[in-house]
């Protein structure tokens, strides 16, 4: 492909009218489906004050459309709770759900000591059988908790309900309470049956609620430091958290807890001791950020450690919040120290990648944050979309009041949170926060993906297999980013595919060193000669005699 890449210039795709592309995408569908998809496929326009068109998001998946999406359980157990190493996570259900979420998300973890607890390599399940479905599984669940306690003596056990459990009516919360009482350790359950929401997103919310209710605030001593923050929505895929930790530590910023990459139970329990929450993946964790603000008085800001510039910007935001000269100076020092190495690789890679096209269809935040990295090496994002995000992740949080709560979202509780009588402490007086805001530090704000995307790019929510194929055919991007299910569908079309859930077993891509890794990885992918071998010599030149004429 190294040769054909040149042909895929910007020019070529500027001839493609995105409105027509949209029409082509939906023309294949039955009328009702087409109508629904039309709302979820949007040609981007950015108004003068950053206003963008409305997009349909977080609505039911269309049956049979071949979606990327997974379930509530996956969002709860897999995404949010999975990366914590010292909680025994028991999946209550038949074997499959637990089996598939066993070690498959690549959250790295690093216990400090060889004896420290780490259950992440284990899969615990009640492996429900026929009789449990017929007679109820509570007895088996209790026995399983007891056995887990007897063998592993963990400090906490959590229970995850899968689809059949909700249906047969097992009360996992009652079991949790009873066993908590009996064993004297923290035991709590998540009603995260797969059918509870339209995607993983429901599971994030349920996990946020559960962790916040059962764990956060349980321990009043945490890491000490002058500038204490939590990092929310960072899952340490491929070691991202390690790189972020390194940078923060160099800046003198203390990380009290991460939700939930490389995390422990105690970190969650003492998260309320931090003075600022920084939010990476807005979709999956904004609930905890809001709840901590209401209950403990900790403000939050949106950060992004994907991309070198973004990392620098995020560090500056944190420094701005603390309003400390020494910290500001230190942050500038670290940025100045880190950037030259990044720029060297970036400029070199940019010379080979400039103008190439990327498409990103993934998750609930990475389809946005990774555009930054592509931009840094001169690549253009021609189309993007999320798998399970909401309108605010596309259009910005200012649309929150106008989002209709439908039946599917209503089933997940929005916890009513009141200030904690002992632990609520306004970190900064309201006026001070207002002043920070007026000085340009956006608190509790996220402007969403679309405002940062170019005009006439396509934004597609919950993209289907058909649309994926079609977009590739029409735009012939140089790289396509999505997940494992899409990986080989795309590559079989002759286009390199980068997995942005699991990083194709590479990483880290966060922070400064991560940016270098990513530039090099994309350079490898879009400029590799391996894509030029698709045709054998006799396919390029089938004639028997005219051998030389073809060369």
């Amino acid at each position: 492909m190294s040769s054909t890449c040149e042909e895929r210039t910007e020019l070529e795709c500027e001839y493609v009218d995105p409105g027509e592309v949209k029409q082509e995408l939906i023309s294949r569908y039955p009328t009702k489906v087409a109508r629904k998809r039309a709302k979820q496929i949007v040609v981007n326009e950015v108004g003068e004050c950053g206003e963008v068109p409305e997009i349909g998001a977080n609505t039911r998946t269309i049956p049979g459309i071949i979606t990327q999406r997974g379930c509530t359980y996956a969002g709860c157990k897999g995404v949010i709770l999975g990366p914590t190493r010292d909680i025994v996570n028991i999946t209550h259900g038949p074997i499959g759900c637990g089996f598939y979420s066993w070690l498959t998300r690549r959250n790295q973890t690093k216990p400090e000591d060889a004896r420290d607890e780490n259950f992440m390599t284990y899969c615990f399940s009640t492996d429900m059988q026929d009789e449990d479905i017929v007679f109820g599984g509570e007895k088996k669940l209790k026995a399983a908790i007891q056995e887990a306690y007897d063998i592993f003596k963990p400090k906490a056990i959590s229970i995850f309900a899968t689809c059949p459990v909700g249906l047969i009516g097992d009360d996992i919360h009652a079991v949790a309470r009873e066993m908590k009482e009996k064993l004297g350790i923290n035991i709590f359950g998540f009603s995260c049956e797969g059918y509870r929401g339209v995607s993983q997103s429901a599971g994030h919310h349920i996990a946020n609620n559960g962790i916040f209710t059962h764990v956060v605030g349980g321990k009043d001593e945490g890491k000490e430091g002058k500038f204490k923050i939590n990092l929310l929505g960072e899952y340490n895929i491929g070691g991202d958290a390690f790189e972020i930790d390194r940078v923060l530590e160099d800046c003198g910023i203390t990380l009290v807890s991460t939700f939930s990459g490389n995390s422990t139970y105690d970190q969650f329990a003492s998260a309320h001791m931090a003075d600022l929450n920084t939010v990476m993946c807005h979709r999956s964790i904004n609930y905890v950020a809001d709840m901590m603000e209401n209950k403990y008085g900790i403000p939050w800001i949106k950060v992004n450690f994907i991309g070198a510039e973004a990392t620098a910007k995020s560090l500056r935001k944190i420094a701005a919040y603390f309003e400390d000269e020494e910290l500001t100076a230190r942050v500038e020092e670290v940025i100045a120290r880190e950037l030259p190495a990044v720029e060297k690789v970036r400029d070199e890679v940019r010379s080979r990648c400039e103008g190439k096209l990327a498409m990103l269809f993934v998750g609930g935040s990475r389809a946005h944050s990774y555009q930054e990295l592509f931009r840094e090496i001169g690549m253009k994002t021609i189309a993007a979309g999320y798998e399970f995000a909401h309108r605010d992740d596309y259009e910005g949080r200012n649309v929150l009041p106008s989002i209709k709560v439908d039946a599917d979202s209503r089933s997940i509780e929005d916890l009513e949170i009141h200030p904690d009588p002992q632990r609520y402490r306004l970190r900064k007086p309201t006026e001070a926060l207002e002043e920070l805001r007026s000085k340009g530090l956006p608190l509790k704000e996220y402007e969403g993906m679309m405002a940062e995307m170019a005009e006439k790019t396509l934004v597609v929510d919950d993209i289907s297999q058909y649309e994926t194929e079609k977009l590739i055919e029409i735009y012939k991007p140089n790289i396509f980013c999505a997940g494992i299910k899409e990986k080989y569908v795309v590559q079989k079309q002759g286009v390199p595919m980068k997995q942005l859930h699991n990083y194709d077993y590479g990483g880290p891509y966060a922070g400064f060193k991560g940016a270098i890794n990513f530039y090099e990885e994309i350079d490898r992918m879009v400029n590799s000669k391996v894509w030029s071998y698709l045709k054998a010599p006799w396919q390029k030149c089938p004639e028997l005699s005219a051998r030389y004429a073809c060369d």
Binding site: I95, C97, D127, C163, L167, G194, Y195, Y466, I484, L534
Partner: protein, 458 residues
């Protein structure tokens, strides 16, 4: 240590499964359905199961795995999934144009009790199934059996839905290959062709789950058994079913439905089981065995006799599916290796009995777990170390912690390639297995031998 909390002391567990040695039914059904040409599998339940099954199959094969889901929400869970399935059928035929939609259930739709044939009839009545296209189904509740059960049920459905007796017998032999790799299916077909046996293999995932890179994506690759061939299975003169658990249900169904006599054999893994397969095929088809097959056999035997000293008395720990383990254990015992810990997650009493028979002469205590899990297996290994582990990728955590060489075998293999291209069945597959075993054992020996005992020639 990766599995630092696994103690050697074994406490009985009745409720908690730790590190399963099986997974759930629908993934097997999905895999089987991919072995029908032009088929789009469909998961009737919430969408998570389908996402998980597709992801796991994709990781194992490094190939596109496409399937639809009914995407149940709370409402469907209460009122049943009819509307979802009818809509899904409509959408899939309209957008993806498959020849067959193979519906399997999940724990959710099974617990609700959705009646798939009735819903399919409704879809048909509503005009959602184009002429000459089909919707078939298998019931796959995961609180029974394992992924192998699901594979078996979907394979049987192929018979239930398509096989028919036209009134005229042919000299074709049906081969049901069992839950094996596309490469294995290819090798079994190659052997049959070499012997001049006309055959229909079902399911057949070769050229589907190991399709070439051409720069052109084909939603329905070249391979897979056609609906037309499935119909003709009812006219065949016999069925050879390989792997009792995965294949006998379909073979028996065909016997009952179309009076096609069947013979059920173990998977042709290793010398003896391949001998039995070739011999049965020869008799059933009335052909003689060509010299080329004898040569293959002789080569496998040549490796066995040449390298016997390295196999002899080596203790092995095995984790896998019953059909695989029965055949593999037989092969290992036949070359004087000693399988001493054998675990499958799939429940079933017959398995333990078979393994006990096969390992009767192993001069060592043999632990058999059915159903067992990898946690128990690991504990056994800690108490009685082995020289070699064989099983799926999850075993590598034990292999690393205990510093034991591992040969990857079975499902899922998530971290290596080869299984979809190179068989482990037949004589050639046996050679490949032995090569892998020898590489593992001898690499270890080369690593561990003292310098003065380091061997050039082995």
């Amino acid at each position: 240590m990766l599995l630092r909390h696994t103690p050697s002391e074994i406490k009985e567990r009745k409720a908690l499964n730790v590190n399963p040695a099986k997974t759930c039914q629908p993934i097997g059904a999905m895999y089987a359905a991919l072995g029908i040409h032009g088929c789009l599998p469909h998961s009737h339940g919430s969408q998570g199961c389908c996402a998980y099954h597709r992801s796991t199959l994709t990781r194992h094969y490094k190939e596109p795995v496409l399937a639809g889901t009914s995407s149940f929400t709370e409402g469907a869970s209460v009122f049943g999934g009819q509307a979802n399935l009818v809509q899904a059928i409509d959408n899939m035929f309209t957008v993806y144009n498959p020849e067959v939609i193979a519906v399997h259930t999940t724990c959710l739709s099974e617990t609700i009790g959705d009646d798939i044939p009735q819903i399919a009839r409704k879809a048909e009545a509503d005009g959602k199934i184009p002429k000459g296209r089909f919707v078939i189904h298998a019931s796959t509740p995961s609180y029974v059996g394992s992924h192998v059960t699901g594979f078996s049920s979907m394979t049987k459905s192929m018979v239930d839905y398509f096989a028919r007796f036209s009134g005229k017998r042919t000299d074709t032999i049906n081969i049901i290959p069992g839950y094996v790799e596309p490469s294995d299916m290819e090798e079994i077909k190659r052997l049959a062709a070499e012997m001049g046996v006309k055959n229909i293999m079902f399911p057949d995932t070769s050229n589907v789950m190991n399709s070439p890179q051409t720069g052109r994506f084909e939603m329905y690759p070249r391979g897979g058994v056609t609906v037309e061939a499935l119909a003709r299975t009812g006219d065949s003169s016999g069925t050879l079913a390989l792997g009792k658990l995965a294949s006998s249900a379909a073979a028996r169904a065909l016997d009952i439905k179309c009076k096609v006599p069947c013979e059920i054999l173990d998977l042709p893994i290793g010398l003896n089981n391949t001998d039995l397969f070739i011999d049965a095929l020869r008799k059933m088809a009335g052909v003689s065995v060509p010299e080329s097959v004898n040569v293959d056999r002789g080569r496998l035997l040549d490796i066995i006799t040449d390298m016997h000293q390295y196999f002899y008395g080596k203790k092995v720990g095995l984790v896998g599916d019953p059909d695989h383990l029965v055949a593999l254990t037989e092969f290992l015992v036949s070359i004087d290796m000693w399988p001493v810990h054998i675990v499958t997650g799939t429940p079933g009493k017959a398995f333990e009995k078979r393994i006990r028979e096969i390992t009767r002469e192993v001069p060592h205590e043999v632990n058999v777990g059915a159903p067992g899990d990898m946690f128990l297996f690991h504990q056994w290994v800690k108490n009685e170390p082995v020289d070699l582990l064989m099983g799926n990728t999850y075993l590598k955590y034990i292999a690393r912690d205990e510093d034991i060489p591992l040969v990857r075998f079975g499902f899922p293999i998530l971290d290596r390639v080869g299984h979809s291209y190179f068989p482990t069945v037949g004589y050639r597959g046996g050679m490949r297995l032995l090569e892998k075993i020898l590489d593992a054992l001898l690499d270890r020996k080369d690593r561990d031998d003292p310098e003065e005992g380091f061997e050039l020639v082995m």
